[in-house]
């Protein structure tokens, strides 16, 4: 299947969903007024990927900023991956946050508390 590559913008993240390697990356900022429109193709891609996933699926979330509209869409994305995890692939989430960014670290912990998937919190100097 085709990979999903979207360039980042002032309000939307860079998306690199790589089907052959089972690596899904969101990077940058996600602050559109209405996130539903932006996340719909991502959900559709994951649905298609679910029909023949790699044995391991790695999800790299490297967000600098996200708004509350995106927070709900990101949760829905994780819920989709949670379902996928019980099938033919093992899903792992890497949650990146910049040094001292307690808000972003806490946001990752919030998702971790809701979603039944292994989360790895990774502190980096710069995203």
């Amino acid at each position: 299947m085709e990979n999903l590559n979207l360039d980042g913008s002032a309000k939307t993240p860079t998306v690199k969903f790589d089907a052959a390697n089972g690596v899904l990356e969101l990077k940058g900022r996600s602050i559109p007024e209405n996130s539903i429109e932006f996340y719909k193709p991502l959900n559709d891609w994951i649905d298609a990927y679910a029909t023949g996933p790699q044995p391991n699926t790695i999800v790299d979330i490297k967000l600098e900023y996200f708004n509350t509209s995106s927070s709900k869409c990101i949760l829905d994305l994780f819920k989709q991956l949670e379902k996928l995890n019980s099938g033919n692939t093992e899903v792992k989430i890497n949650w990146y946050f910049e040094e001292d960014d307690e808000d972003m670290e806490e946001a990752g912990e919030d998702y971790q508390a809701i979603i039944d998937l292994p989360f790895k919190m990774i502190e980096v100097e710069e995203i």
Binding site: S69, K72, I114
Partner: protein
């Protein structure tokens, strides 16, 4: 022309970094965010504070943006659909102030929400945020009902608000969010 000087002095006294009054559009939000990002960089603000201010500003601006088309403005004239935004910086904190007209019959619902958020401590806000995030329904406009909770959580301060009756059915709502500088 002395009035211009008065306005200038008032903005100066209040340490205003940026102020805007008018219609809030998606393009305007992008521009304001770009200006504030470069200002924060120029001030050489600590990354932690810079991110907090930016995040809270996004939520405040998007509240104004979504408010324009909501039920709470359905009978409000075009002139009254413009809003006010001010960002100020004092030696100890940033202050983001917004103002907008709304239908008076929508006031009590908003007031209840603000009072609920203000009644909660840090842990309660975290629990409430997770509950709304997980159980809440998203609107078609992409709002998740999380904005005020997120603003209160990230600022760590109570939300300072006011409702002013301007006409029989119209109220002016103002919100001031204080963001302390972190160490």
């Amino acid at each position: 022309m002395s009035q211009v000087y008065d306005i200038y002095k008032k903005l100066e006294e209040r340490n205003v970094l940026l102020s805007f009054k008018g219609m809030v559009t998606s393009e305007l939000l992008t521009t304001i965010l770009q200006i504030m990002e470069s200002k924060l960089e120029h001030i050489d603000e600590k990354p932690k504070t810079r991110k907090k201010v930016f995040n809270i500003l996004v939520e405040c601006l998007q509240n104004l943006y979504h408010h324009i088309d909501s039920d709470s403005t359905k009978n409000i004239s075009k002139e009254e659909r413009s809003a006010l935004l001010m960002i100020a910086k004092t030696p100890t904190h940033y202050l983001i102030t917004t103002g907008n007209y709304m239908e008076s019959d929508q006031v009590s619902a908003l007031k209840d929400k603000l009072d609920l958020v203000n009644s909660m401590n840090k842990d309660e806000l975290k629990t409430y945020y997770k509950k709304v995030l997980n159980e809440g329904q998203m609107s078609e406009k992409g709002t998740a009902g999380l904005g005020m909770i997120d603003i209160a959580r990230k600022s760590g301060e109570k939300l300072d608000y006011n409702f002013l009756d301007v006409k029989e059915t119209t109220t002016f709502f103002s919100l001031a969010v204080s963001i302390p500088e972190t160490n």
